[in-house]
């Protein structure tokens, strides 16, 4: 025995690996495993191959709900991509202007909502948009736009978009901060050289700065993706587990919750719940892989 057993390694690594392994990694793998089992009324489980997946994707009562939730979730994500991230880019570009007074105050205040609980934010906006209170109607009237007012959260056609915009409002600070940091880390001499060559600030932004922050935009995209396909609290706080009106705000998180725990006459099922979780896992995995293989590989070419 020339080597002594490395006890110090065990001492340093064991606590973290055991807690993470038992309460995060194992449950995840076990959930994937459970999706291949069905449960009898007595609670006995037996292996059933892809039965749960056929049920969820093939039986119309389940599959309609699943595709509806997935489609709503995609819309939820697209609204973030089209509204949140361009606004974040604009704010970051403005904040990073040379010699801008008050940049520190602006960024601190715009970032603030990201730290608050989604539940609380949901309730606050529900009050503000409530026709009962009339705050938003009153504000629109001041601008002469009160004809635009409607029960946005109550209408089937606008509820999901409204919720997505509330989420955008809350989280725009995170991509803003990441892009801002990335813009600040561009070396000054590159910008100076371009200025000396007579490039306008507008041109410098599109031709030099934007390509250089593309990797950050890729990171922002994947963070938004994982966050959106894991969302639950906002819908649950504002619309409850039924994600009304008429499931128009149902996303995968709320669908998972209902499948697992049941609601009204529907009895919850652990194995079907695990199947929904597995499908969510596949969606997220697909997104993460697309990011690593397609986007990131192409983007690194721009890196210095």
């Amino acid at each position: 025995m020339s080597h002594r057993f490395p006890w110090h390694l065990v001492f340093f690594l064991a606590p973290a690996l055991i807690i993470y392994g038992v309460f995060s990694a194992y449950p995840l793998v076990d959930t994937l495993r459970l999706s291949f089992f069905v449960e009898s009324v007595t609670g006995e489980r037996r292996f059933s191959g892809l039965t749960n997946f056929y049920t969820l994707l093939g039986e119309s009562t389940w599959s309609n709900a699943f595709w509806n939730a997935l489609w709503n979730n995609i819309r939820f994500f697209l609204i973030h991509m089209l509204v949140q991230n361009p606004i974040a880019l604009l704010l970051a570009a403005l904040l990073s202007l040379k010699g801008l007074k008050g940049a520190r105050t602006y960024r601190t205040l715009i970032f603030l909502p990201t730290l608050l609980s989604v539940v609380i934010i949901g309730f606050i906006w529900q009050l503000i948009l409530s026709p009962l209170w009339g705050v938003s109607e009153g504000l629109l009237a001041m601008l002469g736009l009160d004809f635009l007012f409607d029960a946005w959260l109550g209408n089937e056609s606008s509820a999901l978009t409204t919720l997505a915009l509330i989420s955008v409002w809350q989280f725009v600070g995170i991509p803003m901060m990441l892009i801002y940091a990335s813009l600040l880390s561009i070396p000054d001499d590159i910008i100076e050289a371009a200025t000396v060559d007579g490039a306008s600030p507008w041109r410098i932004f599109w031709r030099i700065k934007l390509p250089l922050v593309l990797p950050t935009l890729g990171l922002v995209t994947i963070l938004t993706f994982v966050g959106n396909f894991n969302a639950f609290e906002l819908i649950y706080a504002v619309k409850g587990a039924l994600a009304g009106p008429n499931y128009s705000t149902d996303i995968l998180g709320t669908f998972f919750y209902r499948t697992f725990f049941g609601y009204q006459s529907q009895i919850g099922s652990a194995t079907l719940g695990a199947t929904v979780a597995t499908l969510m896992f596949l969606v997220i995995l697909l997104g993460v892989m697309a990011y690593f293989f397609a986007i990131q590989r192409r983007l690194t070419r721009y890196q210095m």
């Binding site: 110090h8 807690i19 990694a25 449950p27 459970l34 205040l109 906006w125 600040l184 639950f232 979780a277």
Partner: protein
Amino acid sequence: MNTIRHSLGKRSLVHLTLVAFTLLALFPMALVIVNSFKSRRAIFDAPLALPTPESFTIIGYQRVIEQSDFLLFFGNSLIVTLIPLTLVLLFGAMAAWALSEYRFRGNRLLMLFLAIGIMVPIRLGTVSILELMVGLNLINTHLALILVYTAQGLPLAVFILHEFISQVPKELKEAARCDGVSEYRLFFQIILPLIRPAIATVAVFTMVPMWNDLWFPLILAPSEQTQTIQLGVQQFIGQYATDWNAVLSALTLAVLPVLVLYVFFSQHLIRGLTSGAVK
């Protein structure tokens, strides 16, 4: 002359845009806080007005304190945030040290194993986590949330601290070892104090999602005795939806701790988030 006026105009446009977004970010919270101190009549008649001596009231707060166990919820939230936070920082730093300092077989594999925890939300394992907690008889206990939040926070903590620990100069460690300092003392008395700034950054990142979580309290610890503030407020508002004074006061009480913390730690947090690019 003309270009100066031109650029002045541009600058005010920039400030106008930023001020507009700042107001938009602050307006909802300000509205709720201001109205929580007004009588019901004033809340509805003039929602945008500040409280006047006539309309000022704290009846909403009195009702929240009387009709809900707000202090209990608050205490529960503190327990299930601060204990996992301590565990994440301690165990995370220990693991980060081992993974960055010692060469051993499986080192990279362990990093990959932890990386999964950053990419895949722990929520997807809920079905099995619930069964595990039922099996361990931990439903409706603080310990259930403490264990899950520790597992949730560890991977990112290890990765960030790993970065910092690998920047500690080699000479420092070698000098200590030559003096006969044990590996344990080296870590606890030399390395740990050195990486304090990084630990503070990780602390904020870890704490916020724990404090704000609704999902796991709802599933693992929904009982009256273990409700966290998010769950408590959610149920309180469901029950007293028509009592606007109480609802607005409950919302204010729920955001207050985070607002106070932010006043003290915002600059530190932003520096951490932008990894030093922002001074």
